[in-house]
Symmetry: C2
């Protein structure tokens, strides 16, 4: 609780990231006092009550922040969330995603009153019981180790920590996923700043997309009512091909735009599936924002960003 | 190869530990040039060709040592190998066993000619596909994460790294396992330095024991002929109850000694099994030292240590 004892306190790591900015706004609107831990001060100052700049691998600093803020809830979004960067520096990816999470859990467990902690993993994890284990990239390895460590820590130290594994999050805010890049491209193309077609590597690969605002609502549901030690998969009820995504953007802007299919081999050979979400639906969450709405909001945001930066 | 190109080079971490001292002697006798990486210089100076003091979590130093020695083989024994210590400092246990191994693998992969690397895990790991995952202690968590990381790294970076999971290693050299503690107790009791009975918590718990010298021979077999990315379980073909172990010591010294059964609840609720060793037996290894011989050698060593220290 905060100083006057009226609002629960939530500590959000990675608060300046794509999901983090949405999460800060969401939990503040839900009546919580938001302590934002971030690496880029300017992006989360306006949506949080307190803002602390900290790298998640600074163990002592994490402990100090935890002790000073005494949160009721912790939402852990910080980490390296990019497959390509994980190939360039796999050790840094492990340190950010696995070691950083361990430091956070250890700091949470050191409080006299343990906060409820939600660790956000990824649907891109791999099966750790495979023989041999075959992650597709260092990012996948780091996210599965993060999940395993978190659930095991919950079991070993009786810490109310749980794990969410979202699929591809989309929506306003400038993500670096396919939809975010496509929206930014179209905003530039609309203003005549590029004539090159947008490049995709396949039209048929199918993925599961969820609006980031729905995901943040799921995180609140889990922080309030999820089961300690459990893993919750989060997504929407549809798979969409890259071709479907391109069509949805064309529909949102009311005309076709240029793209080219490079027909490269898939980077993630494992096909995505619609996640089983029974346990999460049972505690009251469901995806609410239609895909077309996500795309419209994304385009409006991309145009606004573009006109600000040009 | 070493300077004159005659001997393959093996880098052994944890060289001053119980297994490490045996490993240094074994690989030197097998004609290799031994580079010992250890934390206690005095214990491995006499069994190695080069000795370097280094903590396994010093990333840059590990890289420097790897580049300077250009090993053909790496045997990774360093780490925190004690269940009780893992409860006292679970973060340090993770850093030593998981992060340290990652630094070693990364350093090995950075060489132009990758060495063959054997990571020594533990039979006390847990099932990472359990829902929820339930390691028995932080040590168990760290060893399973170490194993997963090593095999995944081998897959991702095409590094010839493999994993051995030995059961309880026994033999001369002052281990801190049950047999080592029992031998040290008997040596003191024989000299009249204690009248207290030796304490055990159960007589019926059954474990698998392997002579450390057989284990080191298995490590050589695996380094020479094991399959990259694979996991090899190592042990003997018998399970022995604690009661059997006490009887074997009484037989070795020719008379009964005092002990008391505290009948405490077991610390490791999972019963040990005889490991499946088919793939290792297929490439030419088998346990050769009988249990009674291990115990006799252990007692002779404990008496010699005791008379030196008294």
């Amino acid at each position: 609780m905060d100083a006057v004892g009226m609002r629960p306190v939530i500590l959000i790591t990675g608060a300046s990231g794509f999901t983090g900015v949405h999460a800060c706004g969401h939990f503040r609107a839900a009546g919580m006092r938001v302590v934002a831990v971030c690496r880029r001060l300017e992006r989360c100052l306006h949506v949080s009550d307190e803002t602390v700049v900290c790298d998640i691998t600074e163990r002592q600093r994490i402990r100090q922040i935890m002790r000073a803020s005494k949160p009721d809830y912790v939402l852990h979004l910080a980490g390296m969330n990019d497959v390509r960067t994980s190939w360039n520096d796999p050790v840094a990816c492990f340190e950010a995603n696995v070691l950083g999470t361990l430091y956070l859990l250890d700091a949470a467990a050191s409080l006299s009153q343990s906060p409820r902690v939600l660790i956000v993993g990824s649907a891109l994890g791999f099966d750790p019981s495979g023989d041999p284990p075959r992650p597709t990239h260092p990012y996948s390895l780091s996210k599965t180790l993060q999940t395993l460590t978190s659930r095991a820590w919950s079991h070993l130290f009786d810490l109310p920590a749980l794990v969410a594994e979202p699929t591809n999050l989309i929506g306003p805010g400038g993500s670096t996923g396919l939809c975010g890049l496509l929206a930014a491209y179209i905003a530039r193309w609309e203003q005549g700043l590029t004539n090159e077609p947008f490049q995709v590597t396949t039209l048929t690969e199918r993925r599961n997309y969820l609006d980031v605002r729905d995901a943040v609502a799921a995180y609140e549901t889990l922080l309030r009512a999820g089961k300690a030690g459990a893993l919750y998969r989060i997504g929407s009820f549809e798979l969409r091909s890259i071709g479907d995504v391109l069509s949805a953007f064309a529909a949102a802007i009311g005309r076709p735009f240029p793209y080219v299919n490079l027909q490269a081999p898939p980077r993630d050979p494992d096909p995505q599936a619609i996640p089983s979400m029974g346990p999460l639906l049972d505690i009251g969450w469901a995806p609410r924002i239609p895909f077309a709405q996500s795309i419209r909001d994304l385009m409006a945001d991309a145009r606004a960003r573009h006109s600000r930066s040009s």
